[in-house]
């Protein structure tokens, strides 16, 4: 049993039925815009590993962030975090709803803070 999919070539061909003159490169750009839009709606579940750094509280998960194998994370919404325990197993850790807990502090050596740039 095969699954019917639309390839990019077929997609462009469908568009050219209505818009014969539409430049292929422009259509590809619009497809990428659509993928960004659709990506905001929880379509692609991903699991990635990251290494912890001693005394680092903040870990970048933005567009330029990478996992421990050097691949781009490309994260939109994190819904679960597991931390390795002393047996080497990953255990889910709770998400903190109230971030303003009284007893949390960052080390003076914290290097992952976002500082203002000079522009």
């Amino acid at each position: 049993m095969s699954v019917h999919k639309i390839s990019v070539k077929q997609l462009v061909s469908r568009v050219h039925q209505v818009f014969p003159g539409a430049p292929e490169n422009y259509v590809l750009n619009l497809v990428n815009d659509a993928l960004v839009e659709i990506g905001m709606h929880s379509t692609k579940p991903v699991q990635a590993k990251m290494s912890t750094v001693a005394d680092q509280m903040w870990y970048k998960i933005g567009d330029e962030a990478k996992d421990s194998s050097g691949n781009n994370l490309e994260a939109n919404k994190v819904y679960r975090v597991d931390l390795m325990d002393s047996d080497g197993d990953y255990i889910q850790i709770p998400r903190l709803i109230d971030k303003n807990i009284l007893l949390m502090d960052a080390d003076s050596s914290e290097s992952a803070l976002t500082t203002p740039d000079d522009r």
């Binding site: 999919k5 639309i6 390839s7 990019v8 070539k9 997609l11 469908r14 568009v15 209505v18 818009f19 259509v27 619009l30 497809v31 990428n32 815009d33 659509a34 993928l35 960004v36 839009e37 659709i38 709606h41 379509t43 692609k44 579940p45 991903v46 699991q47 990635a48 990251m50 290494s51 912890t52 750094v53 001693a54 509280m57 903040w58 870990y59 970048k60 998960i61 567009d63 994260a75 939109n76 919404k77 994190v78 819904y79 679960r80 975090v81 597991d82 931390l83 390795m84 325990d85 002393s86 889910q92 850790i93 709770p94 998400r95 903190l96 709803i97 971030k99 949390m104 992952a112 976002t114």
Partner: protein, 143 residues
């Protein structure tokens, strides 16, 4: 190398701020609970290779050439056709000088916009969800 934290579910917490993930724990690098009450929750004090496993919704891969495949479930493929046509009809309306052509192009653009929104936002979860069977009511998880 394994972590020194025996019970991460009890000893560590996470939250998101902007584009940063924050991990805090109340144990030191030896796995002992920090005794200073005022500074109990701090950053993890050890470097562990692959110590974190993140579960998240990622962005689909972009397409570079016409021979690429869409990095999406096939239930979403037609929505992309609608998105592209929505934009092209809008471009056509913007370039046309005939008022009738402009009106028709805008109507078709709106029709494709509606179809895109319906398939992604309104009924998107039903399409993406691979869960079958009867439904039950579940209270909201506060974790």
């Amino acid at each position: 190398m394994a972590s020194s934290i025996t019970y991460p579910d009890d000893r560590a917490r996470w939250f998101i701020e902007g584009d940063k993930l924050c991990i805090v724990t109340n144990v030191d690098s030896s796995g002992n609970t920090r005794t200073t009450a005022r500074k109990q929750w701090k950053a993890i004090s050890e470097a562990v290779t692959d110590g974190l496993l993140l579960h998240y919704y990622g962005e689909p891969n972009n397409v570079i050439s016409i021979n690429d495949e869409l990095d999406l479930d096939n239930t979403m493929h037609l929505a992309i056709v609608d998105y592209v046509k929505k934009c092209l009809y809008m471009d056509k309306a913007g370039n046309a000088s005939d008022p009738n052509l402009i009106a028709v192009s805008m109507q078709l653009s709106n029709a494709h916009k509606l179809k895109f929104d319906e398939s992604i936002k309104r009924y998107g979860m039903r399409k993406r969800d691979k869960t079958g069977g009867s439904r039950v009511l579940k209270s909201v998880s506060l974790m």
